[in-house]
């Protein structure tokens, strides 16, 4: 993957203000919206995810990169829709009931979007049944559950149970500070992601395993 392109660099550095001009340059050069996403934006977010995984950057640096990515996607959205281009995969994500922490989940949502997954974000403090309904409605391949507090780990267990009881064929990925691989296994989640960078690898492994 080529990370040298100015647009890719702007994503990595999180320079949101530079995004419109750089996206326009790509379009002027005749690049298709889908190619811009694939060749310019995705490598940028991947690079950011890698840096985060290697503990080279701090949380706000990742947040601004995500916002720059979002800005670029917003500018390209109408073209992507017009061209009938849809991300190959879809995910529903949210922080479980009782937990108001958004950021860990937002980082993962950003990284998944960066990996060109269509992400439906239900926000924080989401009750189990709302997850079930969203999965029924959007039919995602992935469901991401986040919890930052030890006290909300039972809510995560309830959510996984509700999804399983509803017989939905979605792969459940869980993560957050108090979560461990053992806990994921114990409550019947399909995978555990230890951080936002890792969440992409985990998602890809699950999606490819399914394909």
């Amino acid at each position: 993957m080529n990370e040298d392109h100015p647009l890719t660099q702007a994503i990595i550095a999180g320079r949101r203000k530079d995004i419109p001009a750089l996206v326009q340059q790509c379009l002027d050069a005749g690049e298709k919206a889908a190619d811009i996403v694939e060749n310019r934006l995705v490598p940028g977010m991947m690079a950011v995810g890698e840096k985060f995984k290697r503990n080279e950057i701090f949380v706000p640096e990742m947040l601004i990169a995500g916002r720059a990515m979002k800005e670029a996607l917003k500018l390209l959205e109408s073209r992507l829709v017009a061209a009938g281009v849809k991300p190959e995969h879809r995910a529903v994500i949210g922080t479980v009931e009782g937990d108001l922490h958004d950021i860990g989940k937002n980082l993962v949502a950003m990284m998944w979007k960066g990996a060109n997954i269509d992400v439906i974000d239900l926000g924080a403090n989401v009750p189990p049944m709302k997850f079930v309904e969203a999965v029924k409605e959007h039919k995602p391949e992935l469901l991401g559950l986040s919890a930052l507090l030890t006290t909300t780990m039972p809510a995560m267990r309830d959510t996984v149970k509700a999804v399983r009881d509803a017989g939905l064929p979605v792969k459940v990925v869980i993560g957050g500070a108090p979560i461990t691989r053992e806990f994921a296994r114990e409550i019947g989640a399909d995978a555990y992601a230890q951080d936002a960078g890792n969440a992409v690898d985990v998602a890809m492994a699950l999606l490819q395993g399914k394909a």
């Binding site: 985060f52 706000p60 930052l148």
Partner: protein, 254 residues
């Protein structure tokens, strides 16, 4: 306009948890920085930052306050751990002034990176030996038990560190092994007795944990370049000279 309207908000309970979380991680953070493991240091700080950004997501004034508090807590730890006070505080003042002028996520991210990397550097850079709490506990135990035969394992156990970790920590922080450091402490204590008392050498050897006077003399000479007897004599002469100088420079007042 008030530069830091967030500070009064920090009084509220929800933010205590962030503080507690940080304090819980602080020993690990300092240990990581000391090992020169910046990656691990960033991982620990990021863990706290996730909480901070969750709490301050919608409120940039609050976010600034919480970030400022984090920087201040790490700076306090840096000073506690022996970093140059003037450097840390001078830096904080400069960065604080900058923070008040920031109104943009990108600038804030850059500010935080610069500030945190700088604090980490001040901890890394410290040259004088100020032991972290556990190491300090171990050294204290050693000093109080110099008169008897103590082992590395016993000392480590006393400080609540594993023996192998204790050895690594000692080597990293003092450049010496346990045996070398113990010998150094014994010789230091002996020097003290030689200077301040008229105790016979055989007795000093005993209270400083040397098995006999001959061994004491050999180790002492190895380390100081002179025998204990010469050290005491030289010290006495020096003492006399100092006393005389003192008399000359500060004549008795009437």
């Amino acid at each position: 306009m008030n530069d830091f309207p967030a500070i009064p908000l920090l009084e509220h309970r929800p933010y205590d948890r962030i503080r507690e979380l940080y304090l819980l991680q602080e020993p690990m953070l300092l240990a990581a920085i000391r090992r020169g493991d910046r990656g691990e240091a960033r991982r620990i700080i990021n863990h706290v930052l996730v909480h901070i950004f969750s709490a301050g997501e919608e409120r940039s004034d609050l976010l600034k306050g919480l970030l400022l508090e984090l920087v201040v807590m790490i700076s306090r730890a840096a000073i506690e751990a022996g970093a140059m006070q003037s450097e840390v505080l001078g830096m904080n003042f400069q960065f604080l002034t900058e923070l008040s002028g920031i109104n943009d996520d990108e600038d804030l991210a850059a500010w935080l990176r610069k500030t945190l990397e700088h604090v980490i550097s001040t901890i890394e850079k410290q040259e004088d030996f100020t032991p972290p709490i556990l190491l300090g506990k171990a050294l204290d135990f050693m000093r109080r038990n110099l008169h008897r035969d103590i082992s590395r394992d016993e000392t480590a156990r006393h400080a609540g560190i594993s023996p192998s970790h204790f050895s690594r920590l000692l080597k990293a922080r003092t450049g010496r092994s346990f045996t070398e450091l113990l010998r150094q402490c014994r010789v230091d204590l002996a020097c003290d007795f030689l200077r301040r008392t008229e105790k016979p050498l055989v007795e000093i050897a005993d209270v400083c944990g040397f098995c006999d006077q001959a061994y004491f003399t050999r180790v002492f000479q190895d380390m100081k370049g002179v025998t204990p007897r010469h050290f005491r004599a030289a010290n006495k002469r020096e003492h006399e000279i100092t006393k005389q100088t003192h008399r000359i420079t500060r004549p008795n007042r009437r």
